[in-house]
C-alpha cells in the first residue's frame, strides 16, 4: 500500500490494491474532472506527479492520466487548477466531505450445515447368507451408522438407479439425505462411489426487476460463481401490481411462470459454466423472493393477493421438486422458497434480515431494502416490525431516463464541481458508461444539489454558466457524460423528471421508516444501526444519501451497507438449515404494518418531497453551499 497525497489540498490517503489515482481521489473527497467515468477516453483527469513513482498511462507532456495511473511508491500528485475545487469547499466539517462510503457489513457466517447432506457408505456385498434387498442393505447401513434412531424415508425415484449405483463402484455409494420432519431424513439420491466432495447449491434472489444467483460449495460455504440478469417478467409489467394484472389474463400466469423459470435456467447454466461445475453436482436450490415473485415462480394464483384483504395462497412454502416447476436441475433437487410475512413483505426481506443477522443482536436496527417496493424492517433479536413503502423502482434505475442496474458501465458515483459544475464520475469496472445506477443517481442528485445547481424542489437553476445544464427533449437536464465518451454513443443525461421520481422514492422511504418508528413509539434518535440492502454498486455515498433526505441524519457510524441481502439470505438458507429455520421464525414473528391506508404515512410523505425535507430540523447537518 502506498500513501497518496493530493496537492494543493494536501489530503493524504492510503491507496487500496489495484486502485487507480482517480478512484483514490474520489475516495479521499478530492475532485478531479473526469467525464468519462474513468474509461480512459475523455483525457480530462490530468494529474502531475510531484514526488514518488507511478505506473500507467502518461501524456506527452509528462502529466499522468489519473484513471490509468497506479502508485508504485508513496506519491504526491498535483491536481491542476481546472479541476481543483475552491479551498472553501475543503473547510467544511469532515462529515460534509465530498465522499463518505458506508461500511460494508457482512452478515453472520453460517457454518455449513445444509438441509441435504451426503453420506458415503461402504456396503457389504450381498451373498447367499445376506440376500437382503438393495434398499434394505442401504437402510441397514444407515441404522448401523450415525443415523441410528433416525428414520430414513425413501423417495421412490431413488429406486430406479439404486441397483446400478450400488454395483458400479464396488458397493461404495454416496447417499444424499434431506432433513425432513424432526428425526426423519429423506433419501433423495444415491450415487455410485464417493461423491461427497461434489456437493453444491444454487441460491437465488428473485427481485421484481433483477434476478441474481450464486453457485455455492456446501462443504465450505464458499461462493463459486455468481450471475444476474433482469427479471424477464419485466416485459409484462414493471411492478408487482402490473404482473398480477397480467397473471389474471388467459395463460398469463403460465407465461410469467415460464419466463422466470427460463431466467433461472439460464443463470444456472451460467454459474455452472463459469465455475466449471456440473448441474448434476447440485444438491439443493434456495430462492429468496417477495411474495408475488414467489407465487409466480411456483405458478400460484395471485388473484386474491391483488385485491382486498390481500391474502396470499401461502407464506410458508413446502419444498418443491425443482424439476416439477420446470427448473432444469436433476430430479433429486428440491427448491426451498424463503418464508414470507404478508402480501407485500416477502421472503426477500425475511432472508435479508437473517442474512445480515438482525435476529442475532440486541441493538435496535432499521433494515432498509431499496428494491422496487422499498420494504423496511425495524427490530432486534426480540421483536420485529415491517412495512412496505411503495417507493417505486427509481433506486434500481427504473423510471430514470438513463437508469440501469449496478453492473459494469454504470455510473456509480459522481461529484460535481461547485463552481464549474464539471463532473467527476466513476463507472463500475472503469468501462465506458452505459447508464446510471442507484448509487450514481443519488450521488448526482446530491452533488447537483450541494453545488447549487438544483433547488430544494429539485428544479435546475436555469441561469448557470455551464453547458452541462440545458433544456432537453424531455425538459431540463444535466449532461453527465458526453456522447463521445459513452458506450451508447449518445449523451448520458440526468433529467428533471428523473429528479422528481427520485424525490418521490426517497420521500416514501423516509416517510416509511419515520411512520414505522412512530408506530412502535420510537424516533430516529433511537436507531442503533441502519442496514442498507439493495442492488447498489460498491459506492454509496452516505453524506450524499443524507443530503437528499433519503437516509436519516444520525451519527454516521451507525450505518452499514449489506449489498444484496436477499441473495445473502438465500445463500445462508442453502448453506445452513439453521438459517432456514431462522427465516421461517422471523416470518412468523414479524408484525406487518400496512402503510397504504395510514394517514401519518401520507403526512410524512408529503413533507418529504423536498431536499432534504420540509422540516430542516430533521437534517441539522445538511447545509447547502
Amino acid at each position: 500500500m502506498s500513501k497518496v497525497t493530493f496537492l494543493p489540498s494536501n489530503i493524504s490517503v492510503e491507496s487500496l490494491p489495484e486502485e487507480n489515482i482517480l478512484r483514490t481521489a474520489m475516495r479521499a473527497g478530492v475532485h478531479i474532472n473526469a467525464s468519462c467515468g474513468g474509461a480512459g477516453v475523455c483525457n480530462k483527469c490530468r494529474v502531475v506527479l510531484e514526488k514518488g513513482g507511478l505506473k500507467g498511462e502518461a501524456f506527452a507532456d509528462g502529466a499522468w492520466k489519473a484513471c490509468s495511473a497506479y502508485p508504485v511508491t508513496d506519491v504526491e500528485v498535483r491536481v491542476p487548477v481546472e479541476s481543483e475545487m475552491d479551498r472553501r469547499v475543503l473547510s467544511r466539517p469532515l462529515a460534509r466531505r465530498a465522499a463518505s462510503w458506508i461500511e460494508t457489513r457482512q452478515g453472520p457466517s453460517f457454518k455449513p450445515h445444509p438441509m441435504v447432506i451426503k453420506e458415503v457408505l461402504n456396503l457389504p456385498r450381498p451373498g447367499v447368507e445376506d440376500g437382503i434387498s438393495d434398499l434394505g442393505r442401504l437402510q441397514r447401513e444407515f441404522s448401523n451408522s450415525a443415523f441410528h434412531g433416525v428414520m430414513v424415508d425413501v423417495d421412490s425415484r431413488v429406486l430406479f438407479d439404486l441397483p446400478g449405483a450400488m454395483r458400479a463402484r464396488d458397493w461404495v455409494v454416496t447417499a444424499s439425505l434431506m432433513d425432513s420432519i424432526p428425526n426423519v431424513r429423506r433419501l433423495i439420491r444415491v450415487e455410485p462411489g464417493d461423491e461427497s466432495a461434489r456437493h453444491l447449491a444454487a441460491a437465488f434472489d428473485i427481485g421484481t426487476t433483477t434476478v441474481s444467483g450464486q453457485l455455492l460449495d456446501l462443504l465450505t460455504g464458499d461462493v463459486l460463481s455468481e450471475a444476474s440478469n433482469y427479471n424477464p417478467q419485466v416485459s409484462y409489467g414493471e411492478d408487482v401490481i402490473s404482473r398480477m394484472e397480467f397473471a389474471r389474463k388467459k395463460e398469463g400466469l403460465d407465461i410469467l411462470q415460464k419466463k422466470i423459470v427460463q431466467c433461472l435456467n439460464d443463470l444456472i447454466d451460467e454459474i455452472c459454466s463459469s465455475a466449471g461445475r456440473s448441474k448434476d453436482s447440485i444438491s439443493i436450490m434456495t430462492v429468496a423472493a417477495n411474495t408475488v415473485m414467489t407465487h409466480l415462480l411456483l405458478g400460484l394464483d395471485t388473484k386474491y393477493l391483488r385485491s382486498h384483504p390481500y391474502v396470499p395462497v401461502a407464506t410458508h412454502f413446502p419444498p418443491v421438486r425443482a424439476s416439477e416447476i420446470g427448473v432444469s436441475l436433476p430430479a433429486h433437487v428440491r427448491m426451498f422458497p424463503s418464508s414470507c410475512v404478508a402480501s407485500y413483505v416477502g421472503g426477500d426481506i425475511t432472508a435479508g434480515v437473517v442474512g445480515v443477522g438482525i435476529n442475532h443482536h440486541p441493538e435496535l436496527t432499521l433494515f432498509i431494502d431499496i428494491g422496487t417496493n422499498g420494504e423496511i424492517v425495524l427490530g432486534n433479536q426480540d421483536w420485529m416490525a415491517c412495512a412496505a413503502c411503495s417507493a417505486g423502482p427509481a433506486f434500481e434505475g427504473g423510471g430514470i431516463m438513463h437508469g440501469m442496474r449496478a453492473t459494469t458501465g454504470a455510473v456509480e458515483v459522481a461529484h460535481i464541481h461547485p463552481e464549474t459544475f464539471e463532473p467527476m464520475v466513476l463507472t463500475i469496472g472503469g468501462k465506458k458508461a452505459k447508464g446510471i445506477c442507484g448509487s450514481g443517481i443519488i450521488s448526482l442528485l446530491a452533488g447537483l444539489f450541494m453545488a447549487g445547481a438544483i433547488d430544494q424542489q429539485g428544479r435546475f437553476r436555469r441561469d448557470l454558466k455551464t453547458e452541462r445544464i440545458r433544456p432537453g427533449k424531455e425538459g431540463w437536464e444535466y449532461v453527465v457524460i458526453d456522447e463521445e465518451a459513452t458506450a451508447t454513443g449518445k449523451d448520458i443525461v440526468f433529467t428533471e423528471a428523473d429528479i422528481e421520481n427520485l424525490i418521490r422514492a426517497k420521500g416514501a422511504m423516509f416517510a416509511g421508516y419515520l411512520t414505522l418508528l412512530e408506530s412502535v413509539g420510537m424516533g430516529l434518535e433511537d436507531l442503533e444501526r441502519v442496514i442498507l440492502a439493495g442492488n447498489f454498486g460498491s459506492y454509496l455515498d452516505l453524506e450524499q444519501a443524507v443530503t437528499i433526505g433519503f437516509l436519516p441524519d444520525i451519527p454516521r457510524e451507525r450505518f452499514f451497507f449489506a449489498g444484496n441481502s436477499s441473495l445473502l439470505g438465500a445463500r445462508a438458507m442453502a448453506v445452513s438449515k439453521d438459517a432456514m429455520k431462522e427465516i421461517d421464525a422471523c416470518a412468523k414473528m414479524m408484525t406487518h404494518f400496512d402503510l397504504s391506508g395510514n394517514p401519518r404515512f401520507m403526512e410524512h410523505y408529503v413533507s418529504s418531497l423536498f431536499l432534504p425535507h420540509t422540516d430542516a430540523g430533521l437534517f441539522p447537518s445538511v447545509r447547502v453551499g
Copy 2:
C-alpha cells in the same frame, strides 16, 4: 329352501337358493350324466319327478332337464338308469363321497381406518383483522381441530387449487390427509365443499397371469365393483423368469411397465364405470403383487433379481404417486405396494397371509397360494416360514391344452361315472364350455383316477370300452365335452400331457410343504389349519384334491378356501392402515426357505410324481376302486 331327495340312491340334501337340480346333485355326490357343463345343450341330464313340484324346462315325455329345473317344494327325483352309478360306489365311506367342498373362510374384517382420511373444515373468512394466507388458515384450523399436536406436512401441489377450492363453497373444504411418519399427516388434496362421502379406493392383485381389481368404499369398506383380466405381459413370457429375461432387452422393462399400467388403467375405468363412480373420488390405491410383478410395475431393474444371489431392488416400497408411473388417476392418489419377503415370495403372499388373518391366530396354519409360482407359508401369530415351490402355471390353466382361468364358461368341476366313464360336468355360470379351470383340472384328474381310467403314473388305460378316451393329435386324451356343446365348436379334451403337467405341479406343492414342515421340525399331522388361496372357482373338491396327492390326507375340517387372498389383502390395505402395517410386519418376520437347492425337496418331489404318492402311507384314506 327345499329338500331334494335323489332316487334310487335315496340321498337327500337341502337345495341352495337359485341352485338347479344338477348342481344340487353334484353337491350331494349324485352322478347325473351331463356333458355340456349345465348349459342346457346336451339334453343328457334327464331326471323324473316322483314327488313335489319343479319349475323350469321339461321334456315332451314329462322328464325334467336337471340343469334347468328348480325345486318349488320338497321334491323326490329319480336319476335314470343310464346315469345312475353302481350302488357299490355309494357304499364307500363318507370321506370318499364324490363331492366334498372346502369351506370358504373369510379373513378378519378390517374396520375402515384408511391411510387417507377426509376432514371437512368450515373456515372463517379472511378480513382486515385476519389476513393470514390460505394455507395458513387451513393449518390453523387443523391445529384447532382434532389434529392438535399432529404436524401437517403439505404436498406442494395442493397449493395450485387451494385459493379456488377455499372460495368455491363459502370457505367449506374437504381436506385429504395421508398418514405419514408417526404424528405427521400429509395434506394431499383440498376439495371445495363437503366431499367426505366421496372416498374410494382401488385395490389390485397383480398376478403373473391375471390381474384383479376392486373399487372400495372407504367409509364402509364395501366392495362396489370388481373386474379382472389377463396380465398383458403374458405375451412377453408366461412366467416371471421369461418376463425378467424380456426386461433385460432394450426397452423391455419399459414395455412391460407400460403394459401392466395400461391393464390397470383399463380395469380402473371398468370398476369405476360399473359402479357408476368417478375416478376423481379415489383417494388411495393399493397393489398386492409378487416381487417381480412389483418391480415391473414400478419400472425397477430386475437384472439382479434374476441372477444369484437374487437380490431385489427393494422389498418394502415407499408409496408412489400413481400418476408418476403412468396410472391415470388424479395426482393426489398414492399407490401403496404390499411388502415382499424375498425374490420369489412377494407382496401377494404377505397380503394374502394378512388378508386371511394367519397373523392373528395361534393355530399352526399352512397357507397355500396356488398361483403360477406356488408359494406356501407355514406359521401362526408368533412366527412364519415361507417358500416358493415353482409349481408352474398348471393350476391356473397354463400348460394345459384347454386350460383357462376360473371365469364364466370354465369347467369347474367334473365327476366321472366309474362304469360308463361318462362325465358329469359343471361350468361356471352354466354357460357353454370354453375350457377347464384349475378346480376342473384337479376334478378331472381325480375323477378319471378314481374311475380307474388312468393309472398311478397318470397314463390312460387303453383298453376301456368308451369312445371318450382316444388317441388324439397330441397323444391320448379324454373328451370332456363334445364339440356340439362347447362355446368353441371344438371338443374340449384333457390329455395325457395335461396330466403329466398337473402331476408335476401337485408334486412340487406337496414336496414344498412337506419340506417346509420338516425344516421347522414338524410333520403333516401338526397342521391345525390349511388355507387354500388362488384363483379357483367356487368348487374345489377337497376329496379329489387329496386323492391326487395335491393336498395332505389330514382331517378334512382343517381345510379352508380363501379365494383370491392377495386381492383380499390389497383390499385390507386400502381399508385399514393397520392391515398395511401388519403386512409390512409379516414381510419382516417371515423366514424364507430357498427350496431350489434343497436336496430334501428334490427327494420329496420325485416321490410325489405318482397318484397320490409313492408312499401310500401318507394317504391312508385314498384307495382306488
